[in-house]
Amino acid sequence: MSVYTADPRLSRFDPLERVFFYDDFDEGIRGWSELIGNYEHSPDSMLPEYKDMRPPMLSNLTMWDTGTAGSMEGSYALKLATRARAGSLATSIKRQTFRKRGQIQLECYFTFKPEASELRLSLDDVRAFGVLFDLQDGMNPEYRWMPHLRYLNAVDDEMINRWQVKGKTRPFHNIGDSGETVSHFHLGPENWDFVDCPAQSLCYNEIATKMNWHYLKVKVDLAERRFIGFQCNDLSYSGEALQHISIPAMPNLNCMLNTAFWVETNRDKRAFLYVDSVLLSGVF
């Protein structure tokens, strides 16, 4: 029996050789911060899409009708909450660097819901949630590359229930007046492509105050810059490498290994994404 299967907190994961980080949010926020755009002199100089990506919080999943559920394991989960405005995004990021360009794998358990502010099904009130890596080669870098994976739950009144990836970002903009700062927004609604796999209807469980936890695994290869595949519950994709955003390496991002989650609301109602726990493993 490996150390992973012997530990009840880790036996629900399938890590690669070594654990890079394991975040159980009963221990605190563990480096997951709010994502913010680049700026110079004033926050007014930020690209507007980056101005308000909401701070993450530690939630014990307390509902108006049934009280506290707690997280999947313990009391607290990482919670991302949008504003109550259709299209609002909440994004949280953990910033690391890598020591070797090997394979890495993110695993987590998550659940998502709209705010329970209406007593109705609310199945299509969350538009999407996702996870991304923001990566750059190390020595003599050629590329910065950004695998994005999102679950498109619904658009307006239409349920979609499909996984998507993104192959192209928006153009870069100069920020401020020094010529030193640029920014690009990569979480807009454009340039998403459906993954060649079936639709996946995730357990919603009837009302907005019932949360079921789901498993997600995402795998990339830093050496070959390949977005290898993913698994969500009983759906696995391991076909051709998935598309990712690729741009020329930038001046001060070598060995960057950033991981981010986000959630987007489909209505003028807050959307929530909860994560508990997150494990990043790799071959390094």
């Binding site: 605190g28 926020i29 709010e34 926050p43 007014d44 101005k51 308000d52 909401r54 701070p55 919080m57 530690l58 939630s59 014990n60 307390t62 509902m63 108006w64 506290t68 009391s75 607290y76 919670k79 909450a81 504003r83 705010e115 329970a116 502010s117």
Partner: protein
């Protein structure tokens, strides 16, 4: 030695308050004490000031006055604050700015176990 966990959330950043305002709900059941800091990033000319009140909630949806009220800053980069304890699960600020006045704020919520 175990140290007490703490966390500061920027619950509003570069947001313009005019008329009725309320900060976004922040969930903090893990914390036993909190300070709301409000820094004025910009103010309308001759800003007459205003009050912010702390509200608490069991669910983040329905709100009640906690009883703490404090003045908003009246100069750019001035900071005002209030301390709160025993607040349960959710916190926010709410208040009203006089007609014609506005204030652009940075609201930090400093939480401690």
């Amino acid at each position: 030695m175990a140290v007490r966990r703490s966390y500061t959330a920027i619950v509003e950043r570069n947001v313009l308050w005019q008329g009725d305002f309320a900060s976004e709900p922040y969930e903090a059941a893990w914390a036993s004490e909190a300070i709301f800091f409000v820094r004025a990033l910009d103010l309308s000319p001759d800003f007459e000031g205003g009050l912010a009140s702390v509200q608490i909630s069991a669910d983040g949806i329905y709100w009640a006055d906690e009883g703490t009220t404090f003045e908003l800053p009246r100069k750019t980069d001035a900071v005002t604050f209030c301390k709160v304890t025993h607040f349960g699960g959710f916190l926010r600020l709410q208040g009203h700015i006089a007609p014609g006045d506005s204030i652009k704020v940075l609201v930090s919520l400093a939480l401690k176990e």
